[in-house]
């Protein structure tokens, strides 16, 4: 399942689409960046409410497929610019972290 397919199926708002054909290997949820760094796996869809520039750095360094901001969490312009530079796809959902992650997991 690719990030663009997930965006459509799960009705996610696209804030930045970097590589539409990038495959998703699974779902990872956490907001503490060091735990994310230690445990997230390559190719995951990362569901979080943490929409700052450091989230983008973490997603890029850990080779994630995309970030999905849950609960309608905001992302600032600096972070979004960084996402474009670093080729990180950023999607957004109004639903909670659990509901968002479950929907993505079921769609995979």
């Amino acid at each position: 399942m690719t990030v663009s397919e997930i965006a459509k199926i799960c009705n996610l708002e696209v804030l930045n689409m970097a590589e539409p054909e990038k495959g998703i290997s699974g779902v990872f949820c956490c907001d503490l960046l060091s735990i994310v760094m230690g445990k997230a796996f390559a190719g995951c869809a990362w569901v979080t409410v943490m929409g700052n520039i450091n989230s983008i750095a973490v997603a890029a360094l850990a080779d994630m497929a995309c970030i999905i901001l849950a609960d309608g969490a905001a992302i600032d312009e600096v972070a979004l610019t960084k996402a474009r530079e670093q080729m990180i796809t950023v999607l957004k959902s109004k639903n909670s972290i659990f509901e968002t992650a479950l929907a993505v997991h079921q769609a995979l």
Binding site: D31, L32, L33, S34, I35, M37, G38, A42, M50, N52, I53, N54, S55, A57, V58, A60, L61, A62, D63, V78, Q86
Partner: protein
Amino acid sequence: MSNSLHLSYKVSGDDFTRAGEASSDLKAKLKQMGVSPEIIRKVAIAMYEGEINMVIHANGGTIDVEINPQEIIMILTDTGPGIEDVERAMTEGYSTASENILSLGFGAGMGLPNMKKYSDDMDIKTEVGIGTTVTMKIYL
């Protein structure tokens, strides 16, 4: 020494908008060199944690990287406050980070444990009031 490549990075203190730049640059260079994605991921994660530690605790520092046919060596040097109790700092979940740091998503007390987890060899030399040098090696 013709068989090794040396890189040097300066990490600014207290600047979270730039934290990760050194790790990103090294990651890109390793990719160009054809290093395997698994190794690159280990290097990127270990070095990013080190970079963040320098930004949070030590007002920045320097990172020297050596890449040779056998291994990637990262030496992170700062002149920060030093680590009072290394064993405790190595414990998962132990953190001395402020509220401000926590609000950025850092400070989970996983920095040093993650650095150890993702490097094949790690050595910490620290002196309170003088600074800290962390040497991490990842074998190729």
